[in-house]
Symmetry: C2
Subunit: 338 residues, 2 copies
């Protein structure tokens, strides 16, 4: 089909090895400059495209990166994936995307199939804290964690500064006069759920507020389960006037619960989300939320994995934290006197 190194060599009357060296920027200095330009021109003319399987077979590098995310249909992830893609492809790498649905078995399965594909590294967005594969995998591959950190092993990661983000949310509510602030927390087995809950407790403490009985965790990130949990939380203590959701879905579920309890948001209760997914500005009410830079998380993760691949020096494990910002919309309002 397409031209090969041998074709170019034959046409130019030189050896394929020379063509290979001329075309590879890393070895072209071994070839006469005139020859290099001649080869380059011929390659362009015959529109030569290197065969990645051949070079991959020889060098055992596939120039692909496995990207493991829980669920692409969760609007949190497409932005990150785009960031990853754009940065990787600029460097000649291709992401291989897979979903896990947060299922450990499925996760083991997709990781196995990616390593069968001989990926050069992994970007993992899976949230589970106690991850059996992680330690093992990180010994055999370069890895970058996104949107989470690892408790046990020290691994490179890119995530939002959860402490800062939660502080933004809590202090926004505090500034509006709220004092009885609850937290609908994410699953404790998830990194972000855990971190945000910790950050919430700490920030409340810093302001001299109690969190006893005002934190309830869901077991998934769905609106529905958040609604159930929030329903119990809100009815157990009617003095709650504000809620921080551990992500946007949980905040939306809380809004639904409030509505079911005939408590109007933001009139009777203020609710803050986290992530700022698409369309959060047009839900009812428009959601005040903490925006995390999804694209940047993705591109930074891509940069980190690339640096692990090209540099032979063992760089220290980098744990990047990106700063989120507060987006104030219509789901929060000043506390009204009762």
């Amino acid at each position: 089909m397409s031209a090969t190194l041998k074709d170019i060599a034959k046409k130019l009357g030189i050896h394929p090895a020379t063509v290979s060296r001329a075309l590879n920027p890393r070895t072209s200095h071994l070839v006469n400059a005139a020859t290099v330009t001649k080869v380059r021109k011929a390659a362009a003319a015959m529109d030569y495209v290197p065969n990645p399987m051949a070079s991959g077979l020889r060098t055992s590098r596939s120039h692909t990166i496995g990207v493991v995310i829980p669920d692409l249909t969760n609007p949190l992830f497409p932005g990150m994936v785009r960031g990853i893609q754009d940065t990787l492809s600029r460097a000649g790498y291709t992401p291989l995307l897979v979903n896990t649905d947060n299922d450990p078995d499925e996760e083991a399965h997709v990781v196995a199939s990616l390593s069968a594909r001989r990926v050069d590294g992994f970007i993992l967005a899976t949230a589970r804290r106690d991850h059996p594969l992680l330690a093992d995998l990180s010994e055999r591959y370069p890895i970058v964690l996104i949107n989470r950190v690892s408790d046990s092993v020290q691994l490179p990661s890119v995530a939002a500064d959860e402490q800062h983000g939660i502080r933004l949310a809590v202090e926004h509510l505090y500034g509006l006069g709220h004092r009885t602030i609850a937290h609908v927390a994410g699953p404790p087995w998830s990194s972000t759920g855990h971190e945000r809950a910790q950050a919430f407790a700490r920030t409340m403490r810093d302001h001299g507020l109690s969190t006893a009985k005002h934190v309830a965790a869901v077991d998934g990130w769905s609106i529905d389960s958040a609604r159930d949990v929030a329903l119990r939380l809100l009815s157990s203590d009617p003095s709650i006037t504000a809620v921080v959701g551990a992500n946007d879905q949980l905040a939306l579920g809380t809004i639904a619960a409030a509505r079911a309890l005939k408590r109007r948001c933001p009139r009777d209760i203020s609710i803050v989300g986290y992530n700022d997914m698409p369309f959060m500005d047009i839900v009812d009410p428009p959601l005040t939320t903490v925006r995390v830079p999804q694209n940047e998380i993705g591109s930074e993760a891509a940069r980190l994995i690339l640096s692990q691949l090209v540099e032979d020096v063992v760089t220290p494990v980098k744990q990047v934290r990106l700063t989120p910002e507060l987006v104030i919309r219509g789901s929060t309002a000043p506390l009204r006197a009762r």
Copy 2:
């Protein structure tokens, strides 16, 4: 690193070719049954994983499919991508995902880079009707179009039955008493925009309604541009009591425009969307819309491309139309007497 065919052969004292044949279901009948089981067991014990680069080099099949979509962050696509992924991976294929941002140059670029990767085929979700690459590409690769059809070349495609979907929307409004129904159409250069506009005109005609001056097209699929267009459309003719948006974003933009004109939805004006993206049930007002089976579109497309790859018989070009359904929510209401 990992075991190779040669390793297995050596351990068993047989030739690598025999191992290869034994492990390949298509050729294992050439090998003694006892040998096959012996080889299988040894392969499993040494956890042999075939090297796709080696086999790809020899067979020039990469077992990858290029999936070209305009923008992953458009919530319409993740569902389709999941459908594609799940079906492809079950067949041992891996999708390679890329974005184009609806930019023809970028599109040419990503297609080139995918073909450099030696993909075995393409699934294209790019919407542009006049597609210069299409004819060319389809001669060199198996192709399936999704969420669109091709005007010029006859190509396999999977899309929603737009005529049916638009009819559902229009007749829903008609049934509610609306007679002056407008259409905020998608870009005329896009396949879906064009088709839905045609379907709208035809359905209106079938009901003896005029569409003159009640159709306006946007030049992108964004909420903002729809808002501008709808603003002009609605103020040009205050008798309009209902609008069909060519997709959900356009409907949302129309809602925003109506709000700016102090016309309340659904009280003063009914608005229907198309696609039923995530969260359309919790926007304000909850959007009545036409749901297209995103997952099924994806998995059907994957099935179509796979059938082109495995079957040597030249199957006739299949153009699949999936039936959408109407989801009635809060953005539509019976026409009120003025």
